[in-house]
Symmetry: C2
Subunit: 333 residues, 2 copies
């Protein structure tokens, strides 16, 4: 098992805990509720909570429920996002909505929210933990709201057509990915610190680590959702999905001349993007230095995150956290 | 102002509290979040919480946040139900999803869940209150799941077509409405008792009151959703929506001969029900004693509920609770 596989198997320890809370339901509802968890996932957030707890001097066992809590929030948001985006597949398997209907998926998502409420009561520092996750979920909702409004086509509803952003600044992009992705990853590390009963300074340092690697995480996802390398991800996925809120597209637009810029934007705004359109858009993007710039930006955040851990004593857990940060960046290459 | 209008205006006291928690969001999200609350509603559940608290010896002011909490749960479930049922109008106004898209409505619903989590922290007995509402929400989810599977047509997804109930016993019907409707009304009354710091016996009595009038509430709704009297409700609404989980339909099926029974069931199972079908179905139902039987059943539960209040000292609040119970029944006539 590679180092990274062993890190991830650490996160998998939360699966039985998540299932335990999810299964407190009517017999016929349970397969629907379990589907999202059984469909897999890297459990990176759970590993972050456990390792953050250990880095701050706690035992891993005290962090298991908080880790399950964070991972369940992530899966809650995935169920709901798949409904919002009419997603058919995730990690090569049918989404909850694709397999069981939008109606059942909404009810499953709502049930996840109650199950995670129950986990909080069984966590150390439930009051602080609850406030932490409530704010993280609110941030995630707001990030998803912005991400939807950054789409350039593909939704027919009047409200969305009227309120979509036709221009996304880098500032606004960072605001969106901070909320959509980094807020929960920050919460994962903060929850570990809370579980370890760490000092406010230590908790803040872990939070800064999580925030920065969370931003890098989304930047790398953006790279993969355009260039589609190495992973099972579809090349040009975010173009097909009309997304302007992707760092590679935003960096490309900054570099292209006016004619090319209009061409790329028009492509994103086509109701249906043909294979030929997609290749044209990819060529425009690939002729810029967007990928390199995005990668450098991701690295900058990873390094910033690592710096936040300097105040902690060296330990096995800390070095695993640092490896996990590198892994996040290296997914792209 | 009639007595019942004054009861309802009592419930309206929670509107500013709900709005206060709902408005802790990004500026552009707020109109979407406020829509469901501003669209109105009778606030019966909030009135029940406040009056239950007073009946158990508490002041009305201590019950305001718990009442807002319960009313917000109700509105959370309405937002989600309208997405599930593709609802266009509610109380004559566009639903959140119709006005702002399914995507925004899902995010609004999720935000409501966080807002109500925040209210709990500001309620008396937050730990007990939280457990109470978590269980009530879980019940509501399960009730909605059953209600969907009691539909005889109208949903295309394989899972639902395969798992729908072709036969609904009265027992199963009571299970469904208990969860879908009575559980939250019971919680409304229980929350009032908790806020009043009442004895376990008093809280249980209030819960029994809420449970019984909650069952009656849904039975009366069922009557209105078939016969459509007095209210703005569409005559035959539940037939158009293919619902087998309606007491008037279930009582009719018990009374009809085999041929008529098959006819009515076939009507409910038509993908699209014409005006002529609807009239035929209504005629079949109106030729039975279903309405009278349903009404008698509702009255039985109302009386059962009233009996649960016998142990409380007479008071203005108690007599208002009793009036509210009568009002629930009289909506139908």
């Amino acid at each position: 098992m590679s180092e990274i596989e062993s890190l991830i198997s650490l996160g998998r320890m939360v699966d039985p805990i998540m299932l335990n809370y999810i299964e407190k339901a009517e017999l016929r509802f349970i397969p629907i509720l379990k589907h999202q968890i059984l469909a897999g996932g890297k459990r990176v957030r759970a590993a972050l909570t456990i390792l953050s707890c250990e880095t701050a001097g706690g035992t891993p066992s005290i962090a298991l429920k908080p880790a399950a809590l964070i991972e369940l929030i992530h899966n809650y948001s995935l169920i709901m996002d798949d409904i919002i985006d009419h997603g058919e597949l995730r990690r090569g398997k049918p989404t909850v909505r694709a397999k069981y209907s939008d109606a059942m998926a909404i009810l499953a998502g709502m049930f996840y929210r109650e199950a995670l409420d129950e986990i909080v009561d069984d966590c150390p520092k439930p009051f602080e933990m609850r406030k932490l996750i409530r704010n993280a979920i609110k941030e995630t909702i707001e990030g998803e709201r912005l991400d939807i409004l950054f789409e350039q086509a593909g939704r027919e509803e009047e409200y969305i057509k009227k309120h979509k952003y036709t221009n996304v600044s880098l500032n606004l992009y960072f605001k969106m990915i901070g909320k959509k992705t980094a807020a929960l990853i920050k919460a994962a590390c903060t929850a570990g610190g809370l579980a370890a009963n760490a000092s406010n300074e230590a908790i803040e340092a872990l939070g800064a680590f999580g925030w920065n690697i969370g931003l890098a995480f989304q930047i790398v996802d953006d790279i993969l959702d355009i260039y589609g390398e190495k992973t099972g991800k579809e090349k040009g996925k975010d173009i097909i999905e009309h997304k302007l809120g992707n760092i590679a597209i935003l960096f490309s637009l900054k570099e292209l001349n006016t004619k090319e810029k209009v061409e790329l934007l028009n492509m994103l705004r086509k109701p249906k993007i043909s294979k030929m359109d997609l290749n044209k858009a990819l060529k425009l993007i690939e002729n810029t230095k967007a990928k390199e710039k995005a990668y450098n930006l991701g690295r900058k955040f990873i390094n910033e995150g690592k710096k936040a851990l300097l105040s902690f004593q060296d330990s096995e857990a800390k070095s695993k956290l640092l490896s996990l940060a590198d892994f996040i960046l290296n997914r792209a290459y």
